[in-house]
Symmetry: C2
Subunit: 340 residues, 2 copies
Amino acid sequence: MRATLMHGAGDVRVETIPDPALQEPTDAIVRVVAACVCGSDLHPYRSMASRDGGVQMGHEAVGIVEEIGSGVTGVTPGDLVIVPFAYQDNTCAFCRDGVQTSCEHGGFLSAAQAELLHVPQASGTLVPVPADADEALLPSLLTLSDVYLTGHHAAHTGRVSPGKTVTVIGDGAVGLSAVLASRELGAERIILMGRHQARTDLGREFGATDVVAERGAEGVAAVMDLTGGAGSHVVLEAVGHLPAYEQAYGVVRPGGVISRVGVPQYERAPIGFGSLFGKNATLTGGPAPVRAYIEAALPAVLEGRINPGRVFDRTLSLEEAPAAYRAMDSREALKVMLRP
Amino acid sequence: MRATLMHGAGDVRVETIPDPALQEPTDAIVRVVAACVCGSDLHPYRSMASRDGGVQMGHEAVGIVEEIGSGVTGVTPGDLVIVPFAYQDNTCAFCRDGVQTSCEHGGFLSAAQAELLHVPQASGTLVPVPADADEALLPSLLTLSDVYLTGHHAAHTGRVSPGKTVTVIGDGAVGLSAVLASRELGAERIILMGRHQARTDLGREFGATDVVAERGAEGVAAVMDLTGGAGSHVVLEAVGHLPAYEQAYGVVRPGGVISRVGVPQYERAPIGFGSLFGKNATLTGGPAPVRAYIEAALPAVLEGRINPGRVFDRTLSLEEAPAAYRAMDSREALKVMLRP
């Protein structure tokens, strides 16, 4: 099959490799209908050391079940399915707690930008959708494998609710998804911090009531000004770099919540009296257990009531994956869908 | 009046200074019936640079209202009152959010180890208790000015509830208070991390089901073992030093909560993928808005159903304040009450 491999920073290639095969009775093989490039794929694209043979890329997919192991229930070959970026048994104690990304038998997919995808723990992972779903819904269905529900996870763990002021840091696809999810959860005011107007324009369509283009201390001052000096009840951090986190504790209101879903590119950061502790701010978030949220989000997508797939502003063939990375790295494209 | 002043590390003196006076119509003067030394007073006791004239100490008190400003309502001279360690108007937006320690007109008391105490924002700060309260209740009433409700704040913001496993780090008076508060909130299992047996014995009486004396990696391993490898739903960190925080993220269960009430003696600490983010752990806590909790806690204390005042294992006169600091610094005493 054809698959996308990264050989080092800036070096993405589409190559022919052996088809994946069932390894455990709980596995499935899914024929990928649509995959995409994630903002988190850009971290290795910018920094990965060269590696012989390369590594397969991609963790978001909608596809058709090709083959299932003898122990797989709930899906059958031919089903159209959403493939969450993490696999899980969806039955262990952590899954029952709603933290499927910490499943005892779980892990992260990393081979979805390909024709065929090997999925462990298929019974707990794959979510079938109506086979006659309109082709136009495909982008939004694909967002349920990661990006929209990552934005939703931020808003959910940040306890966004009616009456709340929410600040979203980052106008990438996750940040815009967090705006849409905050609107769905009833936020009264949504301040989007971002400086790319095409993106913040989409953010406004998704529900942002204010846009702050400034960053750092100026950005913090602008949000404090918009909130009458009080700060934001909830801050959703969708970037992952330290300056974004610093903005987050700068604008969070006393007693408020910072929810992070941008994968932190740092380990140590301020959490003492001057940042979090003094104002009783809560820090939450993590890798989104999207499996926990798919069924609840599906009806709004299938009915067309929300259209999170609008974060895809370009569609390329799988063969064009290198161009997809380039376009996202240079910020020409917000998020690129790949069609094998 | 006589008052306790700290002139530098290890240098506490009781001296005669001018009586405090009303400065604003919203002030009150309280005659202190009982005060005490806080674990947080030991931080300057160990590190404060020498200062000419010294600084007054103490932020916990029960007393009798001596004098009130013209704008004070809700209390009158002669009332027996609890004085929370932070003062607040109890009406601003942050107070209404339950974050009284961030009150727009608030601040922290720092002169309670004295005969008389000047209290700003008296209407919003002082809580009257029945004047005929039994003298034997005095220690427990005094804990409502800080230590017990700081433990309660940890448990409350950590979302302790029936069925939860809670790990409390620290066997000081705040840690033991957090144990008692966790039991009151219905925790199923309470693991107390501490190595002073007299203290952990009191912890068991307060509700601890397990005691772990080991620290660091060994302590983490012991808690993981006790929880079948899953970790603790809630971790209450009642120390404030970095190793205690490191233990906290070591034992927190995926999706769990770390609640800090020990004043952090650090600013930067790990919060990235390997500590908090990867397992979707939540970090919360801060200076306890005890004013938010006093009325709810009072009945159990007045009825004698809980006795948080047992954290006081020594009572000294105000004149003996230097000995009180020495006894707590050397860990001879858990917590010392001072009677002017």
